[in-house]
């Protein structure tokens, strides 16, 4: 019955118009037997409605089958399952495999793009890719070199290609794309190369550019109008260029490589913009708008409906791209359409997603110290701004001064690794970093296509804590409280999955897939996969059986920052090198592992 449903859906997609395709995609997202979008659904819940694997039996989980991707690099994202086919992607060179689930994962087709290898070194922090997208019987791949490819989902044949950026000036891609109605929404990377970040919509059928909204620049480039709101007020004209000195916005960063979300009723696309370039704040006075900002844009026109800048004038590389999770909850007796984000800067924000009103901003790791709190008083001049602690301000301390003991580190309390939301428990499950840093900014010059960084960082596990570099937490977004927290030796760099079986899955950098009780956090199962996990857990059903899949392959920023282990020079010579080195636990890999219950 479920298979029949899947079949008719795909058939309808082939025949239907693109606008209809969005309705069909929505329908597919609601079918828990499939995994049709990287984020689980448009709301970024990463929740599976399947409950065959549950807290009672998950301890019996076993490996069902495995697949080697043939690439030994950081494997982020996850496979998709549409009907009887699984789509698996790889890091550079960005191979896509279509695997036949009816025939032991036989390769139905393989697509391997030809990309100039000179793109490899302009990708900051490994050649990761966060996976393909599906709509309208088409698989969408956004390659490292910013080429977007539409592939026939049945045959792998190329339907169209489009080019979104120029790697020779440091524009690259690591993210997935989001299909919305008759368009696909696409981001860009390169914040450490001084690019001008943007989000772009392409026609799903033809690849033609429909609209592009920059993160920084004049109003006609950032697509702001008189109706664009921020914190309850209209945004004045020239808001971005007035917050930079001279032409600095042209190399201002604000890249868009995170996970996007979409509210079909409001027709708004939500995403976060990254850090301003350079990392030396003294070289770019001003608020640097609209870097580090949550932006809500109209899906049809790209016009900005509302914006909220989380970290004005970033001084710590708190790259604000993290995913925005959409939930509906009751506040003071009234149902509200909410947006929850766990920002790199260590604050978890809850906003009204229709208006952008700021409702909650609380630390989700007690170690966070760079700001005391976010000003929540609408009457205040600093409403909505973080109250920065002078001791930890790399701008106030200035160039060539080493500011020490800042928490979190530039990795953020959470990086892109996506959280999960369970409508069953009402809790968010968040993979986090528990790392602090010393940060010394200094003057750098800009050269197109060359790194534009301008700061030296030393990172180390949060002091006076459990000594590990990560936590996996359950978060109550209304109370702004941690419900439980599991200490981890390394940062948790894997996307979580909550299920209707009251189980939450996540991977660890040592390579474990772990299953924990959604209510208590108690560990119920663990299995060590061949390499460290920075991919996201997904689940699907085939022939009446529930499966859980995860990509292994250590790398990414975690593989660079943690491979050799961290040190804390402040601990004195005896302790230097005393922290765990990831290279003691795992080596490069590239494998999909799929789990099931015993027959």
């Amino acid at each position: 019955m479920k298979k029949l449903f899947a079949f008719t859906s795909v058939a309808a997609l082939c025949a239907g118009s693109a606008a209809l395709a969005n309705d069909e995609l929505l329908e597919l997202m609601n079918d828990p037997t499939q995994w049709v979008i990287q984020t689980g659904n448009y709301a970024n819940h990463r929740y599976s409605g399947l409950d065959q694997i549950n807290r009672e039996n998950v301890g019996n989980l076993q490996v069902a089958w495995t697949f080697s991707t043939g690439v030994l690099r950081g494997h982020e994202g996850s496979p998709l399952v549409i009907g009887d086919t699984m789509y698996v992607h790889t890091p550079f060179p960005n191979i896509v495999y279509a695997l036949d689930l009816n025939d032991h994962g036989r390769i139905k087709w393989k697509y391997e793009p030809q990309q100039d290898s000179s793109v490899i070194p302009v990708m900051c922090c490994d050649t990761v890719n966060r996976g393909v997208a599906y709509a309208n019987n088409t698989i969408f791949l956004h390659q490292a070199d910013t080429t977007i490819v539409a592939l026939n989902a049945e045959t792998g044949e190329v339907k169209w290609t489009a080019v979104n950026g120029d790697p020779s000036i440091g524009e690259t891609n690591t993210a997935t794309v989001m299909p919305v109605k008759d368009k696909i929404i696409v981001g860009i990377s390169g914040g450490e190369f001084g690019v001008q970040g943007h989000i772009t919509a392409y026609d799903m059928e033809t690849g033609e550019l429909a609209w592009r909204g920059y993160s920084v620049g004049p109003d006609d480039q950032i697509l702001f109008d008189e109706n664009t709101m921020s914190l309850g007020k209209p945004v004045p004209a020239n808001s971005s260029i007035d917050s930079w000195e001279g032409d600095q916005w042209k190399i201002g960063g604000g890249t868009t490589w995170g996970w996007y979300s979409y509210d079909p009723d409001l027709n708004l696309v939500y995403y976060g913009t990254g850090n301003p370039s350079t990392w030396n704040p003294s070289q770019r006075p001003g608020d640097n708008k609209w870097s580090m900002t949550i932006i809500a844009r109209d899906a049809d026109t790209g016009m900005a409906k509302w914006v909220y800048q989380k970290t004005p004038h970033d001084e710590w590389d708190y790259d604000g791209v993290n995913e925005n999770i959409l939930v509906d909850k009751e506040i003071d007796g009234e149902m509200r359409k909410l947006l929850v984000t766990f920002d790199r800067n260590g604050f978890a924000y809850t906003l009204d997603r229709a208006t952008g009103e700021l409702l909650v901003a609380e630390k989700y790791d007690p170690a966070v110290n760079w700001a005391t709190h976010v000003d929540m008083d609408p009457a205040s001049e600093t409403y909505g701004r973080p109250m920065v602690v002078a001791d930890y301000s790399t701008a106030q301390n200035g160039e060539d001064v080493n500011t020490t003991g800042i928490c979190p580190a530039a990795l953020g309390t959470k990086d892109q690794q996506p959280a999960s939301y369970s409508p069953q428990t009402g809790l968010f499950y968040v993979p986090t970093n528990h790392v602090c840093m010393d940060y010394e900014p200094f003057r750098v010059s800009y050269t197109a296509g060359q790194p534009y960084v301008g700061a030296t960082l030393s990172m180390y596990p949060a002091p006076d804590s459990h000594g590990g570099m990560g936590n996996f937490i359950a978060w109550d977004a209304l109370a702004g409280e941690i419900k439980w927290s599991i200490p981890e030796q390394f940062s948790v760099w894997s996307g979580a999955l909550a299920t209707a079986g009251d189980v939450v899955f996540y991977g660890t950098l040592e390579g474990f897939l772990k299953a924990v009780d959604a209510e208590t956090g108690e560990e119920l199962y663990r299995f060590k996969t061949p390499s460290g996990v920075i991919g996201n857990v997904m689940s699907y059903e085939h022939d009446g059986k529930q499966y859980v899949g995860i990509l292994s392959g250590v790398g990414g920023w975690a593989g660079i920052g943690l491979a050799a282990g961290l040190t804390n020079p402040n601990d004195g010579l005896g302790a230097v090198g005393g922290y765990a080195a990831l290279s003691d636990y795992t080596a490069l890999g590239g494998q999909l592992t799929v789990f099931k219950l015993p027959d």
Partner: protein
């Protein structure tokens, strides 16, 4: 041929011994590779830039500066403290295998190792002033790490920047 070209191109950048100027402290204390100091920089007997670490742990300016520049320009691929990452090899070991001239050549021109099982590509930094104006700094820092003379982390104590180094830096960063 390669050496000759390097010497021509980078002789000025590197501030090699032939540059002249005030030579001081011949017969430096300790067991380090530094044979003499000139204009705030240290050199081996062969006139190759190197580090100098005093008995109390004070590092020379270039080693400290190299720590900073390494962690801005190289660290995002090669990991903290020259230790390597899942993405790129440890440079503290690379400088033990190759000499100063080969190091400068590779940084300037890049290097590729791409085949079925490798996807390693280092870009060319020859036009990047943030790297090339500090190439000696980065080299001597990594050499100190590779020789085991310098522990991981930020050096606690350092010499001051000499006027000669400061004016070289200003000229190099301003130059075309």
């Amino acid at each position: 041929m390669k050496r000759l070209r390097l010497a021509l191109v980078f002789g000025a950048v590197a501030g090699l011994a032939s540059a002249g100027g005030a030579t001081e402290n011949r017969g430096l204390p300790g067991n380090g590779p530094a044979a003499y100091k000139e204009d705030g920089r240290y050199f081996t007997e062969d006139g190759v830039p190197t580090y100098f670490i005093a008995e109390d742990g004070t590092v020379d300016w270039l080693t400290f500066s190299g720590f900073r520049r390494y962690h801005a320009e190289c660290h995002v691929c090669h990991g903290p403290d020259g230790m390597g990452s899942t993405y790129a090899p440890p440079l503290k070991d690379a400088v033990e295998r190759m000499d100063y001239y080969d190091f400068v050549y590779i940084v300037s021109n890049g290097i590729q190792n791409v085949d079925v099982s490798h996807q390693n590509v280092m870009p060319t930094f020859g036009q990047n002033k943030n790297v090339m104006c500090y190439i000696d700094d980065i080299y001597v820092y990594l050499k100190a790490r590779g020789d085991g003379a310098l522990q991981r982390g930020r050096p606690a104590k350092r010499e001051d920047k000499s006027d000669a180094v400061a004016s070289f830096e200003a000229e190099c960063m301003a130059g075309g």
